[in-house]
């Protein structure tokens, strides 16, 4: 019977279907919404693409999905490119996806909002988890591209503000495939070292797509898990990423992040300055008060203390006052060149210590004579002791 001649086995029919489908649809572009997205441990992705009336299974192999800059989420509208394949053991067909992109920037924005909501509900952005940023870091970990402008900017700011610090750069890709994984791994690694005071995670400006790694869940979770405080500095002032919300401190740019991570040397010099000014004034004040007190006591009660003892005491205080007053005098024109004067002050303090130990200085014509060859016979000499100066 001719009818019987047309009888096909299941395998034969499936084989025919396979040939027809695979030859007819060897390159298709399909737009649809992702559902049931699963990233298998093998690295392959499985999901369903659907619209209001139909759905189709999809698979995207590891190696190809590396090139997708974002992690797909259920509900996200994407455009995939691929070919149709039939799997005979199950009698099913699916799209073998070669590449994938969001159906529009709105899709990324929606994915961003969705993840933000989810992490906010979990408490990852809560103020109570924010760690304080240390004032005087010894080592700053940096997670960024080592050849990027952001890193160069951060170096120059650290150099200018606080060259005392050491930068530990954990070089990472900051955009494109694998960037999120590298950023997360770098944060983890810096945490393992145990000697980092603060971490800066960042990159320079770019499109939403360029900055996307900083919106990935894996990065957000690693920032949250970090035991070391993290400052984020991603893109420009107007760019907000998920990383910014999780970080302990958000900086508008990578450069600003470095500024927030370091104290300002100029302010520290000014602080040292003010300190010296203050203690010089104060020690003079204290010493004068003691001198007044002693003199007052002697006058009002007519103490019968041995004269030598009183004299010694007054002399001691006078020598202190002399020394402290000199300190103040050098302070008066401090404004003109603070740094030079500060250095001078410190030197003159050393000089005073030397004098105190019993050494003296010799001057002729108001110039110090450090060597025998500088000495001229027959010219008046003045000798500077710790407690005074005499002319001979």
């Amino acid at each position: 019977m001719s009818k019987e001649e047309n009888i096909l086995s299941v395998s034969e029919l499936t084989g025919l279907i396979k040939t027809v489908l695979e030859e007819s649809f060897d390159e298709v572009f399909v737009v649809g919404e992702i559902s049931n997205f699963k990233a298998h441990v093998s690295g392959h992705w499985y999901f369903t693409l659907k619209d209001a009336n139909a759905q189709i299974s999809c698979a995207m192999w590891r190696g190809l999905n590396n090139y997708v800059f974002f992690t797909p989420q259920d509900g996200m509208k994407v455009i995939v490119k691929g070919k149709l394949t039939v799997y005979p053991p199950r009698g099913s067909y699916q799209i073998d996806v070669r590449s994938m992109q969001p159906a529009g920037e709105g899709e990324l924005q929606a994915a961003f909002e969705k993840l933000k909501r989810k992490l906010a509900e979990e408490g990852l952005f809560d103020e109570k988890y924010k760690k304080p940023i240390p004032k005087f870091p010894v080592k700053i970990g940096i997670v960024t591209a080592i050849d990027g402008a952001a890193f160069r900017d951060m170096i120059s700011i650290a150099k200018r503000r606080y060259p005392l610090v050491e930068l530990i750069i954990a070089a990472s890709k900051v955009q494109g495939e694998g960037a999120a994984n590298e950023i997360a791994a770098s944060i983890k690694l810096l945490n393992k070292r145990g000697d980092i005071d603060v971490i800066i995670v960042g990159r320079g400006g770019g499109s939403l797509e360029d900055l996307w790694a900083f919106n990935e869940e894996i990065v957000a979770r690693e920032i949250f898990a970090s035991k070391i405080p993290i400052i984020s500095g991603v893109g420009h002032e107007i760019d907000f990423t998920i990383s910014d919300f999780v970080a302990d401190l958000r900086a508008p740019t990578p450069s600003a992040a470095m500024e927030l991570a370091t104290p300002n040397s100029e302010q520290l010099f000014a602080f040292i300055d003010e300190f010296l000014y203050y203690i010089n004034n104060r020690i003079f004040e204290i010493t004068s008060n003691y001198k007044d007190k002693i003199e007052h006591l002697i006058k009002s009660y007519g103490f019968r203390l041995p004269q030598d003892l009183i004299k010694n005491k007054i002399q001691f205080l006078d020598s202190l006052l002399y020394r402290f007053q000199n300190g103040i005098e050098s302070k008066f024109n401090f404004e003109s060149n603070k740094v030079a004067l500060l250095a001078h002050k410190i030197e003159s303090f050393n000089l005073e210590k030397t004098l105190k130990r019993g050494f003296t200085l010799i001057k002729q014509n108001d110039k110090y004579i450090p060597r025998l060859k500088n000495f001229s016979k027959g010219i008046p000499v003045s000798i500077k002791f710790f407690d005074g100066e005499i002319k001979i």
């Binding site: 060259p163 610090v165 040292i272 010493t287």
Partner: protein, 72 residues
């Protein structure tokens, strides 16, 4: 003279603040105030030298990052 950056710098700056506060007390003794004064001058010099002579150090961690990715 100035040491490599470590916690000493931070501690020294904090100590300067303490010294200011202690010297500020009305009833401070003469001996004590002179001791504090000398300590303050010494520490201020240490801080100044350390900051002035500091040179930025940069260390790269690249290789270890690759290892850790392989581990994972």
């Amino acid at each position: 003279m100035a040491k490599k950056n470590d916690k000493n710098f931070e501690q020294s700056i904090k100590r300067l603040e303490e010294i200011s506060n202690q010297l500020d007390k009305e009833d401070i003794g003469l001996d004590e105030s002179i001791k504090l004064y000398e300590e303050g001058i010494k520490l201020a010099k240490y801080c100044y030298d350390t900051l002035k002579e500091a040179e930025l150090k940069i260390t790269e961690l690249k290789k270890e990052v690759e290892n850790s990715i392989r581990e994972d």
